[in-house]
């Protein structure tokens, strides 16, 4: 066994340049594979976390953009006055926003002050922060990535220019930089404050962009998903209720079908890696036809040579795959790149499971690359091979 391993090692190191080039040619596509898979995985886990929260998103039936009347909240709450199945309803109004003279768009949402924490327990604020929210109508919770980008801290006064009415800068007090929240980007403030400002400027009040309904169990979620739409059917402001995961997915795919395009990119990169590795394996097979013929004539048998070629290919591609997976993992976990805002999915986090999957994929690439030469070696006719002096 040791001899065989030594032979394997010697074969790979015989031509260092070829080995390194092949590893690199496999590692680079794997880098892209890891990045793409991380984005898809990140989206999935974000969506799954939303699914765990058992929240329903209620939007206007005609389009996600059209607002609903705030009065819908009371009507939804009337569907379960005991609050055992339908635990909280929170109206949200998106105002986008940006800081004056800074072009980066923000994601700022006004939420009903009283039911915000009941609907969004995943924000995990400290008790004093919760108290500050209840007390101060100008309170705002800023996303930690946004705070980092804008240089905002807890206790600071900030001013945001909204994308929707009222069209003047709004003053806020930062009461929390949500360190433990899932969503690192969105800023949350009180909707009663917004209504006040809208009233002052004479803009239409009493509108919400959507309503989020927190349910007690999965069965309740499925029940109310249908019940709410039935309740508002036929009225002027018909609703479309989906669970939060479907809602966010719809919002993302409206912009750009990212998951599908990334899957195509992954397929292309794997193809490139297979071709590059197959190139090397077929070249080394060609160079060593005599050697394989000699091994066969010595009695090592066709399966030994078959396994030899497969093992070489697997080792090469595994090495390339490992390098290709570790580089982006290292970059996005231990360097400042990890907080860099990426459009659509906010920040990129490379899950270890994605790296493991990439190495697995590189092993498959190794097998695929070695198929043709290892098949050839099975059929290799010893006498003819020894005769050709290539």
């Amino acid at each position: 066994m040791q001899l065989r391993l030594l032979y394997l090692y010697r074969n790979l190191t015989r031509n260092w340049l070829r080995t390194l080039l092949t590893c690199a040619a496999v590692a680079l596509p794997i880098v892209i594979y890891v990045l793409s898979a991380a984005v898809i995985e990140g989206l999935e886990s974000y969506l799954d976390n939303s699914a765990k929260q058992l929240r329903l998103a209620v939007t206007h039936k005609s389009s996600i953009i059209n607002p609903l009347p705030a009065g819908h909240r009371a009507k939804i709450e009337s569907l379960d006055p005991t609050r055992t199945r339908l635990t909280a309803v929170c109206g949200l109004r998106w105002i986008g926003g940006r800081v004056e003279n800074v072009s980066t768009p923000l994601s700022t949402i006004a939420a009903d002050a009283d039911t915000f924490f009941a609907t969004y327990p995943d924000h995990q604020l400290a008790p004093d922060e919760i108290e500050a929210w209840q007390r101060d109508r100008q309170a705002i919770i800023v996303g930690r990535a946004t705070a980092g980008q804008m240089g905002w801290n807890k206790g600071q006064r900030i001013s945001i220019l909204p994308t929707l009415p009222p069209y003047h800068p709004i003053e806020f007090h930062v009461i929390s930089v949500a360190e433990d929240a899932e969503d690192p980007v969105t800023n949350w403030f009180r909707r009663d404050y917004l209504e006040e400002l809208l009233d002052e400027t004479g803009a239409p009040t009493g509108l919400v962009s959507f309503l989020f309904v927190k349910c007690a169990t999965k069965a309740d979620l499925d029940h109310y998903r249908v019940a709410i739409d039935q309740f508002f059917a036929g009225s002027i402001d018909e609703t479309k209720t989906q669970d939060e995961k479907a809602f966010i997915n719809e919002y993302i795919t409206q912009q750009f079908n990212l998951p599908r395009n990334l899957a195509i990119l992954c397929a292309v990169t794997v193809f490139v890696a297979v071709m590059a590795a197959a190139n090397t394996m077929s070249m080394s097979f060609r160079d060593r036809t005599n050697e394989f013929a000699t091994l066969k004539s010595m009695g090592f048998g066709r399966w030994f040579t078959f396994v030899l070629i497969q093992s070489e290919s697997l080792l090469l591609c595994a090495a390339g795959g490992l390098a290709g997976a570790l580089v982006p993992f290292g970059l996005f976990t231990w360097t400042p790149l990890k907080d860099y805002p990426v459009p659509l999915i906010q920040t990129l986090y490379i899950q270890p499971v994605v790296c493991v999957r990439a190495v697995g994929m590189s092993l498959l690439i190794g097998v695929a690359a070695a198929i043709w030469p290892s098949w050839q070696v099975l059929r290799l006719k010893v006498v003819e091979a020894l005769r050709s002096l290539e």
Binding site: L17, L21, A25, V26, I32, T163, F271, A276, N279
Partner: protein, 393 residues
């Protein structure tokens, strides 16, 4: 005298397997690159149509796009103070078009309606066709007062809208509007929209205010001073030329392009390593031949050039296969795409076409990749020790 071209060409086919495999690697990289160039090119050419310097888009002060702006009838009337606004020579009416912008979520045809996109619906009056000069109805226009709409060609293609189809518009999605015609807008952003009669749509959406006003300025008028006058104390609205308005929308493209270039860069590196691998093996297998060429009289530089040319030939072949593959993919999977305007919140549908410029760009990339990949092996070939090489078995 340089090494004959046919020599380089024939060499590629001596060992078919490495040639084909390397060719496929290059083709894959080029295919992706061409697609991305096509995407970016189609998007920017669509946006460049929207570059009229004599058309002003007027929205509410503080709003960032037509879709989140609201202009009252009073404010619209104030705009008639502007003497820079052109007048229709036939009727004398001033060319200012009040418009209302709403959205509807429509399913995309190419993935069988699994995903939807936000399409803009614009309520217009007949003046709009005089203000937006590049919008040309191809069939009939909606009748004043009737529940009819016309659809831009790009929108029709991307979202499968046909003549005679009914769309449920209105605040309660309960008013059935019939599609009575298509219109073309030179491939610009307006071709992704649905147009209807303004008062009818305002009624259907319970609106009392316009979203925006589009003005056509006189040819000799100065856009900047007109914009300043609109922003001034008398009118107090926000205005920009069509070119400026869309310039900021296209900022998102630059981010996508940057990411695309990084991806293609990484894959090109992989292609370079692949080519290098192949060329090293080729050089190693032909040391005797190279030595022979040297003895005949070819210099080291000529040998180096010969290998470079061989590699570039191989890459160009791969590039051509890649471009053909991309063209085939576009033909099969559909070449209409849409992109979200982050500020307008509506989609921009456009068609990807492989222009000669794009193909030239891809082939240029491929030439560079081929040359870089072969550099080191070619140097090694040029430095072959003639006598020793002739002696080796």
């Amino acid at each position: 005298m340089a090494l004959p071209f046919l020599y380089n060409w024939r060499n590629l086919f001596v060992r078919k397997t490495p040639t084909i495999l390397t060719l496929l690697v290059i083709a894959a990289v080029v295919g992706v690159f061409t697609w991305m160039l096509g995407f970016a090119g189609a998007l920017s050419s669509s946006l460049s149509v929207a570059g009229d310097e004599h058309k002003l888009i007027v929205i509410k002060r503080g709003a960032t796009a037509e879709s989140n702006s609201a202009i009252t009838v009073d404010e619209f009337n104030k705009l008639s103070q502007l003497d820079a606004v052109a007048r229709d020579p036939a009727t004398g009416e001033s060319l200012q078009s009040p418009e209302m912008l709403v959205q509807i979520a429509l399913p995309r045809v190419r993935d069988n309606g699994k995903t939807t996109a936000n399409v803009a619906i614009r309520g217009v009056t007949p003046t709009a066709f005089k203000v937006h000069r590049n919008v040309r109805p191809l069939d009939k226009v909606f009748d004043v007062g009737a529940l009819e709409v016309i659809v831009g060609e790009a929108a029709a293609k991307q979202f499968g809208l046909e003549l005679g189809q009914t769309l449920n518009l209105g605040y309660g999605s309960d008013r059935g509007y019939t599609v009575v015609g298509l219109f073309s807008a030179d491939g610009g952003p307006m071709e992704s929209e649905i147009w209807g009669y303004l008062p009818a749509l305002m009624n259907s959406y319970n609106r009392t205010m316009y979203s925006s006003v589009n003005l056509r300025l006189r040819e000799d008028a100065d856009a900047k001073s007109a914009v300043d006058q609109i922003k001034g104390p008398a009118i107090q609205l926000e205005a920009s030329t069509e070119r400026e308005y869309w310039e900021t929308q296209s900022s998102l493209i630059n981010i996508y392009l940057a990411i695309a270039y990084v991806l293609v860069g990484i894959m090109s590196l992989a292609a370079i390593f692949s080519i290098a691998n192949t060329m090293f093996s080729m050089v190693a297998g032909r040391t005797r031949e190279i030595a022979m060429l040297r003895t005949i009289g070819y210099s080291g530089t000529q040998v180096l050039t010969s290998f470079l040319i061989e590699s570039i030939l191989l890459s160009l072949l791969g590039g051509i296969v890649g471009c053909l593959g991309c063209a085939a993919w576009l033909a099969l999977a559909g070449n209409t795409k849409d992109m979200f305007g982050a500020k307008t919140f509506t989609t921009l549908a456009f068609t990807i076409r492989l222009t000669p410029m794009i193909i030239a760009g891809s082939l240029l990339l491929v030439t560079v990749v081929g040359a870089l990949g072969a550099l080191w092996p070619a140097l090694r070939a040029a430095r072959v020790q003639v006598i020793a090489a002739l002696r080796e078995p």
